[in-house]
Structures are given as C-alpha cells and as structure tokens.
C-alpha cells in the first residue's frame, strides 16, 4: 500500500517514538510572535537551558502592533511591553527577529512563505492556530500551545500523536466571482466547525491545483476552522515557481536537488485516507457567514437556515448565535446595512488579495457609511502594493492602506469594531467579540468585501461583475 503526502513528510521527521505513546517529531522551523512566546522563554530560563537550535526559530511581532505610526513607540503599555519582551528574548537567546520597522516584518504566516522560509516537506510550528497556512507548500504545519513552543525551543522536537488523514477533493471550475476564500468557507459550512477534528487534511482536485500559491494559502489557513490540525497541498510547478529566487530558497545545485526531492512529495495512487470528501466547484457561490463560528456560512444569495434544519443539541448554540448577530432564522442577508469592512489577516492579507480588492473598487467610491481597515499582511506586501500603485487606487476610491499586522482580525491593537456594528471581514473567525467586544463579524472573500465596501450593504458580488 502506498503512503499519503502527510505520511511521507511525517515519517521523514520521526526521531523516535514513545512506547504506546506519541512520536517525537523533529521540527524544521518554528515561527514565534509576541503573544504566545514570553511564557515559553520564561520556561526555558527557569529550566536553566537555552534555545537548542536558535537558527531554526524566526520571530516577528504581529498580533499587537499598531497599523499606523509604526515608526513611533507603541502607545498601549501592555502591547509595547509584550513586543519589547519579544525583542529582549530574541536578543538573549540568539533568535532572528524581524522587528517593527524591519523590511520583512509582518503577520508571521505571511512572512514565512514570502521570505522562502517555508518550503515543501518541512515541519513547521508556531504558537498560532493558523500555522496551517504553510501546508499550502506541502509541509506539515500546525498551531501549538505555549508549553509546546517551550518544548520546541528546548529540543527542536515536539511530542505529537499522529492525526488521521482526510482527503478533500474539489473538482471543476470556480464560477466568476468565486474565490479560494469561498471554497474554504463552503467546505467548512458543509462539514461544520468540528468536522475536521482529529484529522490532517490534504486538499486536491482540479479546482485546487488551478489555484495560485496565495489562494492555496487561504485554503490551508482555514483548515483549523473545521477543527483539523492542518491542511496540505502537494507541491507542483506552481509551488516551485513561487519559491524560486526567494531569500531563503535553496540556490544553484541545491535548488535542483531540492526540487527533485519535493517532486516525490505526493500521495501515492494506492494510498488510503481515513476519510474522503468530494465537492464540485460549480456548486460553490460567494460565501458569507451569518453566525458566530466559521461553519455557519451560506452562499450570499441563500437564506439563513431555519431552526428545524438544525440538530437538536445545536439549537441552543444556533439561537444564541443569531441573537448575538441580530439576525433571524430563515432571513436573507442581501441588502442589510454594514458599516465596517476589514481587508487583511493571514487569511487574506497578501498582494493578490489587495490587487483583487483594488481592481474592484477602482473608479468606484467607498460607500459613505463604510469604515474600512485595509491592512497589508507584511512590509513586503505593503512595499509591493505601493510599487503597483494600489495605495493610490485605494486612496482615489476613498480607502487608506495601513501598515502591516494582525489588526482587526483579533483586535488586540487599536483596530476594533464597535459594539453591535456589523463588519464584513476577510479574516478567519467570526466568534463573539473577536473583532472587539460586541462586534458582529461576517466572513467573506476580498472580492465580496470590495463589493460591500462600495455598496454599504450586503450584495452578491456576481451581480456587479460584467
């Protein structure tokens, strides 16, 4: 019997196994940020040890950073203290830091791929659940807790129980106005926010292989939103073309050797998955969420489910979600006024996302009621956007390009949505209070966000495309 992509990469990283217990997995790269690392550094200090392989950890502050005036000291005391703590720890333990002002600073999951730090066949961890993003390159990448961050700092290894494998195959062509974000929101709506728990996903099929690297990252990024540990896509020419020439990509003879190895990273034809799901790309429309977890999504032209279609045990949660959102079962969302738009995050803060948004709003005007936060995922994305004149297109349409960070995805900095307000967001979570206490989040694609930003209300973007 053959092996899956996941098993190939996993097997290549097993250092040893605990009898009747987990495997000890070697970690090629750990990414860290300011929020989930301070207690881990404190832990190794308490043990009286250092970072075992400091060159295998890369740090950048992202969660807390302001998206305006990054050249100035951070105003908020606790945020500044946490970011300073990351700098101190990196200096003390010899870890490379892309601090505020560095040309490569940004959201950790945007920085890894664009610098060529993320490569196929690697094991990558970070104290952040959206580490699954890096699986788009055919690496095993997943989020971990702070005790595990400490474990990797101390040993460059992680004790892990092997997940089951889930194949999600999507074939066919996506309709006009439908993007990678809609694909993943559709899949999560099909299998629920818990449907992937216990699994590592491999996405495949013609609709997936047709996607760009950045679109693949959007898909893998949200694997955790169905409960899966991570998601992967087998590396191919699209992957190699994206990586080639990036800062930390192998060069010269090493490049050829690496590509030859990466080409072996695919699921064998006779490999068996623990579970397989198949979808048709033609069934997917522009998605929007109506509730308080990412599984509560519908095609924007459809209605919110009625209570009788909800499982008995889930009815309390469903009603609680609608009550929080101020929606009613069975209603349509079309035409509802929205006052906030957030474009950014590790899900949709890359250059293609900004291009898509800018292309749509070009020659149009931001609706008067809309407050928009347009946040590039990294300094490199910001630089590229300015080089392409995206900042000017946005400005002419009434939008402003901010500085990079996690921003309103989780509202740890000043970028918050006020209580009770609706925000269409290109981020990954619509949990209660995620974008600020009492804020109501509707997850959408960058294209749908653009259509709503110029309309001031929920619309079906397909009706605005010619």
């Amino acid at each position: 019997m053959g092996t899956t992509l996941f098993e190939k990469v996993w097997n290549a990283h097993v250092v040893t196994e605990v009898k009747d217990g987990p495997s000890i997995l070697y970690i090629d790269k750990q990414l860290i940020h300011e929020v989930t690392s301070p207690q881990a550094f404190a832990g190794i200090e308490k043990r009286g040890i250092g970072v075992f392989r400091p060159e295998r950890t890369l740090a950048t502050p992202d969660h807390n950073v302001p998206t305006k005036g990054q050249n100035l000291p951070i105003v908020e005391d606790l945020s500044r203290f946490q970011v300073d703590k990351l700098t101190d720890n990196c200096n003390k333990f010899g870890v490379t830091l892309y601090g505020l002002g560095h040309a490569s600073q940004g959201v950790v999951h945007v920085v890894g791929p664009e610098t060529g730090t993320t490569l196929p066949g690697m094991t990558i961890v970070c104290g952040d659940s959206h580490t699954s993003t890096h699986g788009a390159f055919g690496s095993i990448a997943f989020g971990i807790g702070t005790s595990e961050v400490e474990q990797v700092l101390a040993t460059q290894c992680l004790m892990q129980t092997k997940a089951k494998t889930l194949k999600i195959e999507i074939n066919g062509k996506l309709a006009k106005g439908v993007t990678a974000k809609d694909v993943i929101l559709y899949v999560i709506a099909q299998i629920s926010a818990a449907g992937g728990t216990g699994y590592f996903v491999e996405y495949c099929g013609s609709a997936i292989t047709a996607l760009s690297m950045e679109a693949r990252m959007t898909i893998c990024n949200m694997s955790i939103e169905m409960g899966a540990r991570g998601g992967m896509i087998a590396p191919d020419e699209t992957t190699f073309n994206y990586i080639k020439g990036r800062e930390f990509a192998p060069k010269g003879a090493k490049w050829d050797e690496a590509v030859a190895y990466w080409k072996t990273l695919y699921t064998d034809a006779d490999a068996v998955f623990d579970k397989t799901l198949k979808y048709d790309a033609a069934d997917i429309g522009p998605m929007i969420t109506y509730g308080t977890n990412p599984g509560m999504g519908i095609s924007v032209n459809k209605n919110i489910p009625t209570i009788d279609s909800i499982e008995e045990s889930n009815k309390v949660t469903f009603n609680k979600a609608l009550d929080y959102m101020g929606f009613h079962a069975g209603d349509s969302l079309i035409g509802k006024q929205v006052n906030w738009v957030f474009l950014g995050s590790c899900t949709n803060g890359r250059i293609e996302d900004l291009r898509q948004f800018a292309e749509f709003v070009k020659g149009k005007q931001k609706a008067a009621n809309i407050n928009a936060l347009i946040v590039p995922g990294s300094k490199q994305v910001e630089k590229q956007a300015i080089a392409e004149g995206i900042d000017k297109v946005l400005a002419e349409a009434g939008f402003e390009l901010r500085e990079p960070g996690c921003s309103a995805c989780l509202a740890m900095n000043e970028d918050k949505v006020p209580k009770g307000e609706y925000c269409v967001s290109t981020s990954n979570r619509n949990f209660e209070g995620r974008q600020g206490p009492g804020a109501r989040t509707l997850l959408v694609s960058p294209l749908t966000a653009a259509a709503i930003a110029v309309s001031g209300k929920i619309v079906d973007v397909r009706e605005m495309l010619n």
Binding site: T16, I24, T36, L119, E148, Q151, A193, A194, K320
Partner: protein
C-alpha cells in the same frame, strides 16, 4: 506539574456547543507575559457586563453552582491555540473539563497544564446535564487510574479514553519537556542522518 488521580466534586454546567477559546479568554487579555491571573477573566464577556458587574444569567455567577469540574457542550475549546485558555480554566479552580468532543489543540494544552479533558458520549453528557439540572449539588467522580467517570449516588458511569503516556504523565506529574530533553542524543543523531536537513543547509 501537580499529580492527578481521582477527583470528586460538584460541577459548573455550560450546556453550549462550540465554545471557542475567544470566549474562554478574549484576545484582549493575552497581553500578559506570565501564566498567572487569567482566572478572573475566564468567560469574561459572558460573565460580566461592560461595567464589570456580574451578569446574573451566567452560570459562574449563580451561587448554586461551583466545583472543580466544568461540563460543556460538544467541540469545547475550538479556535485559537492560546494556552491562556487552559491557564484561565486552571486559575479559576477547575481540574477537569467534561464534554462530548474536544478541539485538538485545547485538549493538548489542557493536558500540558494538569487539567484532565474527559470525553464522554453525547448521551452521558445529557445525563450529567439532567442530573445537575435536577440537583445543583450533584457530584461527579472522575477516576483517572481506572478511566471511569460516574454520577455519584447513581448507577450512571462511563469509561473514558486517554493516551497511556499522557495518563502516566498526569498521575506522576511528569512533563513532556523533561522527557524530550532526556533523549537529546537521539535528536542529535537524527540531525546528523536526516538527508532533508542536509539539503536545507545553505
């Protein structure tokens, strides 16, 4: 880590599904650089009004309910990987969380902090909620050694699954990091023999 064998306690029931870690501990409380003091912010936005006064309808503010066991609906702990969720639950005095389904990362974080996640069937979870609804002082007994959870004073009990290694760790208060540090020779050997690591060298 504190050793764990058996706990008998009254419970705090939270019959809500898909409780995410943003509800357990909202992001604005993640700016601390130590592990202590998160308990007061546990379930903050469900537990307190904006002015900081307790919301009367939230279970933790109901004097009838208290204990070391939190019982919640399925898919508890979904969302963010923040270990602060486990630290908050621990700091609030809970030693066990019972649900019919746990999110993977939360389960691991709980175990790494000496909190036992006990996964039961949907039917048994309902039995617990029913028993506690009938009697707020109903106790549960959680026996890690024999892997059994029971509703005390009744015949209702169910066995639960836990990885043997993790069970040993909890019973003895062992920590994963000590274990992995003890096999450093094997890690160094791996580094010497891994072809891929060699390939990645600039």
């Amino acid at each position: 880590m504190e050793k764990f064998t058996t706990i008998q306690s009254t419970v705090v029931p939270l019959p809500i599904e898909d409780v995410d870690t943003d509800q357990i501990i909202p992001a604005r409380f993640l700016k601390a650089t130590t592990k202590s003091g998160f308990g007061k912010s546990l379930f903050c936005d469900w537990r307190y009004n904006e002015d900081g006064t307790p919301k009367a309808d939230f279970v933790m503010n109901n004097p009838l309910y208290s204990g070391k066991i939190l019982v919640a609906g399925r898919n508890f702990g979904c969302g963010s990987s923040r270990e602060h969720a486990a630290w908050a639950i621990d700091d609030a005095g809970f030693k066990v969380v019972v649900s019919s389904f746990f999110a993977d990362i939360f389960r691991g974080n709980a175990l790494n902090n000496g909190i036992l996640p006990v996964q039961v069937s949907d039917a048994f979870l309902k039995s617990i909620f029913d028993a506690v609804a009938a009697n707020a002082k109903q106790e549960l007994n959680v026996d890690l050694v024999n892997q059994v959870i029971s509703i005390t004073g009744t015949d209702l009990k169910e066995s639960f699954v836990i990885n043997e290694y993790k069970k040993t760790c909890l019973i003895n208060g062992y920590d994963d990091i000590d274990y992995v540090l003890s096999i450093k020779d094997k890690i160094e050997q791996y580094e010497k023999t891994s072809k891929y690591l060699d390939l990645l060298k600039a």
